[in-house]
């Protein structure tokens, strides 16, 4: 954008309460404007409110962090997140935007997409990863193979170092909106194989409970 445009836009954002200037500096930081809108969205979404107890109970049972995400452009957006009460997974929260190509939740979502949309996104990711593009696509296809075989995929270190996620793709509500759901933990090398199996089983169980619970809800998300 042109500099003049940027300055007119930032000025508008300041006056609307979305950003503010750092005292004595030329930088801006986010202000609370978006917080109110986000709260309104979250507190009136009947689907997310209905889903939360099931997600929280899964998080508590597994002592893990559980998230529900939708597509936001070429990224994934957390629309619901429940942490376990025992671990403070501070980096993860509602409103988080994370890459689709490198995370379990993103790959599960990608896998569930119609072929044409999936192909287009894969091309975009390959391009933007430049020299690592081929490797990335290879890794994504490995996750797809796993999803074909087991319904879930496992990715470690996709977003946070020393942690892993297990994810699946699901459609919820009266209009069958596409979501992905994941369950993440920090790495425990010894029991990983078993841990992963338990999580996948529990995740699938919660997914089918969610489908049943939300089948009649308007799921515009």
């Amino acid at each position: 954008l042109a500099k003049a445009t940027v300055s007119r836009l930032t000025s508008t954002l300041v006056q609307a309460g979305f950003i503010r200037r750092v005292l004595g500096k030329r930088n801006f930081v986010l202000s609370t404007g978006a917080l109110g809108i986000g709260h309104s969205y979250l507190s009136t979404s009947s689907l997310l409110n209905a889903a939360r107890p099931l997600l929280q109970s899964l998080a508590d049972r597994l002592d893990a962090s559980v998230a529900l995400a939708v597509q936001d452009g070429i990224d994934m957006l957390y629309v619901s997140h429940c942490g376990s009460r025992k671990i403070a997974t501070l980096k993860l929260r509602v409103g988080l935007i994370l890459p689709m190509g490198t995370t379990a939740i993103g790959r599960a979502y990608l896998w569930g997409l119609p072929p044409q949309e999936q192909k287009q996104l894969l091309l975009t990711f390959q391009k933007s990863a430049k020299e690592n593009g081929e490797q990335l696509i290879h890794d994504i296809h490995e996750s797809f193979t796993e999803l074909d075989a087991t319904g879930t995929c496992f990715v470690s270190g996709g977003y946070i170092k020393n942690s892993f996620g297990v994810a699946l793709s699901l459609r919820l509500g009266a209009n069958q909106t596409r979501f992905a759901m994941s369950c993440g933990k920090t790495l425990l090398p010894e029991s990983l194989v078993e841990e992963r199996r338990t999580i996948a089983t529990e995740l699938k169980r919660t997914a089918s409970e969610l489908k049943k619970l939300l089948s009649n809800l308007d799921a515009k998300i």
Binding site: T12, L30, H39, Y41, S43, T44, D72, L77, V94, K220
Partner: protein
């Protein structure tokens, strides 16, 4: 929205801005789109054109045009059957995630929950949105009914004693007086910039670090509040609430006020320490 449109709006706004002595560039259609998103509240999910036009104070033709643009951008849904709009998930990507800041929660969680336990009071952490305070964290006490305690997302008038006063008192002087004058413009019946009560509150914060309600405020749930400035975060205030029977003037001034201040100081020290470690 055409460029010509934008220019016209700009000129209009410049004219009105001059009246308030500020000349700032302003992209009106953009600001209106933000107003439209902000018009959605916490009670009703779906709003029709008429309701939106009332709440955002925009002509209904503008609402129609903007709302459809926002639908195509993924910020709103249109519900055909009821001809109403609702917020869509992309509004969370406008900064909600960054704002619902883990830094703030992490820095305040421990101290605030132990304060609530030790003093049997309800604590809230607030930040400002325009002329309202928004509760961004809430610590409840079993010591009094839950219905009297505030939830995250609750809004409080900035002008109501004393959480908003404490937050304003913690701001640089020009910002504080700008807000106070804006309050006067918006709610002339309930706020006067020259009100000695507010001035007393500012002085009290300067001297003691906290602020208590004026004598005649007669609040059913009195509170004492203190500003909190964590580096890298928006200006905040912490307020401590309890029923009147448990909040004598001397308890407010001698126990809770000073305890609140020592807690905010400690929070700031810990954040600075962690920053310098990094």
């Amino acid at each position: 929205v055409t460029a010509g449109d934008e220019q016209r709006q700009d000129t209009n706004n410049k004219a009105s801005a001059q009246k308030t002595l500020f000349i700032r560039p302003f992209v009106a259609p953009f600001a209106r789109a933000l107003d439209l998103l902000s018009a959605f509240g916490k009670d009703e999910r779906c709003l029709g054109n008429l309701e939106l036009s009332k709440r955002a104070d925009l002509p209904s033709s503008t609402v129609t045009r903007l709302a459809h643009t926002l639908v195509s951008l993924g910020y709103l849904h249109y519900h055909d059957n009821i001809r109403k709009f609702s917020l869509a998930s992309s509004v969370l990507s406008l900064g909600y995630g960054a704002l619902d800041s883990p830094i703030i929660h992490q820095a305040t969680k421990e101290s605030m929950s132990s304060f609530t336990r030790n003093h049997n009071v309800h604590l809230i952490l607030c930040s400002r949105e325009k002329l309202d305070l928004i509760v961004i964290d809430s610590y409840k006490t079993p010591a009094f009914p839950e219905t009297l305690q505030l939830e995250v997302g609750a809004q409080i008038d900035l002008s109501a004693p004393v959480a908003g006063w404490a937050l304003m008192a913690g701001l640089p002087e020009y910002e504080c007086s700008y807000l106070s004058k804006s309050l006067e413009r918006k709610t002339p019946h309930s706020w006067s910039h020259a009100d000695p009560k507010f001035n007393d509150a500012l002085n009290q914060v300067r001297q003691t670090g906290f602020c208590t309600p004026p004598k005649d405020a007669n609040l059913s749930i009195p509170m004492v509040a203190a500003p909190l400035h964590i580096s890298g975060s928006v200006p905040l205030a912490i307020a401590c609430l309890a029923p009147r029977s448990k909040m004598s003037k001397s308890r407010l001034e001698n126990e809770l006020g000073p305890a609140l201040v020592s807690m905010t100081n400690q929070i700031v020290r810990e954040v600075d320490l962690n920053e310098s470690k990094k």
